[in-house]
Amino acid sequence: MSNVANASTVTTVAAPKPQLVIDKVFKRFGDGPGAVVAVDQVSFDVRPGEFVAVIGPSGCGKSTLFNIIGGLLDDYSGDVLCEGDRVAGPHPAIGMVFQEESTFPWRNVLDNVAFPLELRGVGKAERLERAHHFIDLVGLGGFEKRMPSELSGGMRQRVSIARTLVSQPHILLMDEPFAALDEQTRLLLGDKITQIQQDLKQTTLLITHNLTEAVQLSDRIVVMTYRPGRVKRTVSIDLPRPRTSDVVSSAAFGKYVAEIWADLREEASRGMADAEGRTRGAAPRG
């Protein structure tokens, strides 16, 4: 229960082995003087049933990290170990939810959610039954026959989440799934996510730049630095569970937000200064 997360793995007897290990992951784009180090020696781990958020300003290599863990970017150094396997190419135990709108516009909600099962050759009856279950779980019961174009952005994102959950990933990996939504929808969907995570004991890794979202949902938060992306600090969030969005008004919540913001502000200001410098065309490299 200390702030130094790895210490507890050693001291607590019952602590399970980490399910996902990120070990000294390094990724550089380009060569020579124009090269950009996106992710630099990043290490952390995620234990079974745990909800971990990676937070950092834009340009901290979060999305690169997401793509590496998801196996969409397999040219990296260091190790991403999912249940002991080094990730190279999409791993069957990892299910991804993207930031972008990713439902299939030509499939209705039911067929969208059943998609991964269809790929695996699961029979139609079982496929639809399992899809129904996860549609209910994300609170979209009754919308099975609707097309994505008839749904709101928040509903479409829940379809994407149900589609990933139906494949029963051991690890749920989400990249800013609520980035395009308004604050109220985001808080309410956060409740849904918390509830699902508790019901399924779903190990989850969330990539985000939203501080309240990270604190609301996580057991642990990994704070990243602005370019090159390094782990600045890991913070354990000891807020009571089961949690709802009401937690945002508690004093403890405010303390965590303030504490992490102190770290994040420094990084975000560096990012902003860098962006402004580049716009002026006089940015010092590095």
């Binding site: 993207f98 299939f104 030509w106 269809e118």
Partner: protein
């Protein structure tokens, strides 16, 4: 004071007129369409009966409808219709398959697209009828030369819209397929094909239009069968009512074909 008064007076008027157009728009467009057809028919008929023009140039509608009836029971009409339909179908099949294949290649390979797409782009709007003499030399005066010309003309439209459809696929959908570890065959049938079907079918619809135009145009130039040939035959006899009747039937058939393909394309989009 002077400025606010007209605004206040205009606002309620504007809302009521908007509300009214919104409510009755579907019915009123139909009324306007029917009025247009009726008006055109009345003008045509009065011109025909006025004696201002030669009776043969603007024949009476009664004569045109009568000749349409005669055409519809004439076996020669069906023989020619069959020839033209076959030409259009074969052109569309050949030009369509070639166009979709080339479109997929251009759409998926950036290098080939940069190298060859300008040719397709700049050749697309050239009038294909100028190749007709070449096609006659290669394929003879029969059906084959019309099919070749028709295929050539719809190829470009279909290739370009397929390439655009391929490039227009949302990249995140491809990533979704990859994360669920779809096989290449599953990627093709469950992601690429459905994502592209709307632009491809739209291209086929436009290709159908060009194939019909090209086949009929070629038939009027040099042929011994087909609807275009029939038009020229009737023209040679100066049988104006039958000529207008045949033209009306051709319009209707082309319109219905287009409508049908549009329905299929529209069905794929939703």
């Amino acid at each position: 004071m002077a400025a606010t008064k007209p605004v206040g007076a205009r606002a309620p008027l504007a809302t009521t007129s908007w509300g009214r157009t919104g409510r009755v728009s579907a019915r009123s467009t139909n009324v306007i369409r029917v009025c247009f057809v009726l008006g055109a028919a009345i003008i045509w008929e009065s011109l025909s009966r006025s004696g201002l023009l030669f009776r043969d140039v603007v024949p009476s509608l009664v004569a045109i409808v009568a000749s349409m009836g005669k055409l519809l029971v004439n076996p020669a009409f069906y023989a020619n219709l069959q020839v033209t339909a076959w030409e259009v179908a074969a052109s569309l099949a050949i030009g369509g398959v070639a166009g979709i294949v080339v479109g997929i290649v251009l759409g998926s390979n950036k290098f080939l697209a940069r190298a060859y797409e300008p040719y397709v782009y700049y050749l697309a709007p050239t009038p294909r009828i100028i190749f007709f003499p070449v096609m006659i030399m290669w394929f003879g005066v029969g059906i084959a030369s019309k099919i070749a010309l028709g295929a050539l003309s719809c190829f470009f439209t279909i290739a370009l819209s397929t390439a655009a459809g391929m490039r227009g696929i949302d990249k995140v959908l491809i990533r979704v397929g990859r994360t669920f570890r779809a096989t290449p065959w599953q990627m093709a049938t469950k992601i690429y094909l459905p994502a592209m079907s709307a632009p491809v079918l739209n291209g086929v619809r436009l290709g159908f239009g060009t194939a019909v135009i090209t086949a009929l145009l070629a038939e009027t130039k040099l042929s011994n069968q087909g609807l275009g040939f029939m038009v020229m035959q009737i023209y040679a006899r100066f049988d104006m009512p039958t000529l207008y009747g045949l033209l009306a039937i051709v319009f209707l058939i082309a319109g219905l074909g287009n409508l049908l393909l549009g329905k299929i394309a529209g069905g794929a989009r939703t």
